[in-house]
């Protein structure tokens, strides 16, 4: 099933043309890895999907981003962002307790019942593979967790809102290899229920977890195909140069 359909997408920040004429479809229940050098428009692409780009005063776009055939520009932005969760590059816990971090999104939807909140928080932490490590210290500040735990907390916090899509923006850039492996395991497990778009600077990570891989360069989508094809027989010379480490 097609989750996103993007047609003729152009994005500008002031005079900077950040995304140029991107057309693509994203299937549900897949992991799409987005790779490319810095400043290639990967993160902008991600933030245009959940409309966080709107926060920039100089942001402009043309073209259409459809989610399940509905134009995202026409949707209520809070509803859209509930459907599209996001995990940021650095672990960014809110300055609240572990429990309240996970409960935050649900609370903002008006849920007040303590029991419901507790159930949903536990469920989300289980899915984020963090429950066993934090179940006895839910009232501690989230900043007391290690970096890897904080990032899994952020994943659990995103899951608690029960989104349909999860955007990962270089989620392992600040993590050690073991924490990275845990986050990657979580992503592969999550794809059964969610559509996942993973922006990564780590080409190997894209090869490990992505069902499909998209290669961005200077704001253009160079190539999008199944991951094994991208990594064994890329159609475009630039893709081959990038994944073989000739530039980047």
């Amino acid at each position: 099933m097609v989750k996103f359909k993007i047609r003729d997408l152009d994005v500008w920040f002031g005079p900077t043309h950040a995304i140029k004429q991107v057309n693509m479809e994203i299937q549900s229940h897949e992991i799409l890895s987005v790779i490319g050098p810095s400043n290639s428009g990967k993160t902008t692409f991600l933030r245009t999907l959940n409309r966080l780009s709107d926060l920039h005063a100089s942001f402009r776009m043309s073209g259409i981003v459809e989610m399940e055939r509905v134009d995202t520009r026409g949707m209520d932005v809070e509803t859209l962002r509930r459907k599209i969760g996001m995990v940021f590059a650095l672990p960014l816990p809110l300055p609240l307790s572990i429990f309240e971090n996970v409960a935050y999104g649900i609370r903002m939807q008006g849920v007040k019942n303590r029991k419901t909140l507790e159930e949903k928080v536990e469920e989300a932490l289980q899915q984020g593979y963090l429950w066993d490590e934090v179940k006895d210290r839910l009232d501690e500040s989230a900043f007391k967790l290690s970096g890897g735990q904080q990032q899994r907390l952020c994943i659990a916090r995103t899951l608690a809102v029960q989104p349909e899509v999860i955007l990962f923006d270089e989620p392992c850039s600040g993590l050690d290899p073991i924490s990275t492996a845990k986050v990657e395991d979580a992503m592969v497990e999550l794809k059964k229920k969610y559509t996942i778009i993973l922006v990564t600077n780590n080409v190997k990570q894209a090869a490990r977890v992505g069902d499909k891989t998209a290669f961005f360069l200077s704001g253009e989508l160079v190539e999008l195909d199944r991951t094994d094809k991208i990594f064994t027989a890329p159609q475009d010379q630039r893709t081959e140069d990038y994944i073989s480490g000739k530039f980047g």
């Binding site: 966080l52 960014l92 300055p95």
Partner: protein
Amino acid sequence: MRNPRRTEKIAFFFLLLATLLIVVPVGLIVVIIIQKGLPAINWQFLSDMPRQGMRAGGIFPAIVGTIYLVAGAIIFALPIGLLAAIYLSEYSRENMLTRLIKLAIVNLAGVPSVVYGLFGLALFVVFFKFGASILSGSLTLGIMILPIIITASREALESVPSSFREVSLSLGASKWQTIRHIVLPNAIPGILTGTILGLGRAAGETAPILFTVAAFYLPQLPHSIFDQAMALPYHLYVISTQVPNVDEKIRYGTAFVLLALVLVMNLIAIVIRTRFRKKKKW
């Protein structure tokens, strides 16, 4: 040939001298006022009405008047200042209008206090017919400290990392929910600090209350916000210049109480700020 080490020593000397020059007057003011004022301080001085044309008795109504004025100023200025700060920091985009508003706030902070006094007289006392009253004086002081509160609140709001806002919004919270639950709670210590500095300023100013509320001699407590009241800074001015043969002890005692009031407020601001810095979690 120049010896760089010697040059450095000379530079160091002048830097130290300049720093000491700042400390000396502050120290002297405090020492002189404590030395001359402290002997006057006793329970009767703090709790009694002034007597014999202010040459004896206490300064109780002036203390109460100042507290009323400061409280009134804050009740008026804090909500308006905070809401304006939230608008400027969270909602407005950079354009001609917001640039104009920000310029106005900066200029408002630079207006001499006596001009606020005249403005308060024209607007609140005469035009709105509040008369010389606690209400007029509080509103005038409130306008005077608005820029302090707006500037401090804006800085406090803007110092909350924007990544927190993005996280909150990405979880489907609305803009107002984000402000209410994430931005404001983390900005409160900074807002409080600015508010208390504003309080100190309001407590110490003479000119804005001169035409709007201050009573020359009123040995009773105000009954409502439409009454005139005595206030510490104006009382100090009166007994120092307008009334002959006031004992020096009473004058310095009054100055001591005023100084203590303002210093205590600043101290509270500092304590809040330090506690906040320790608690800061990012």
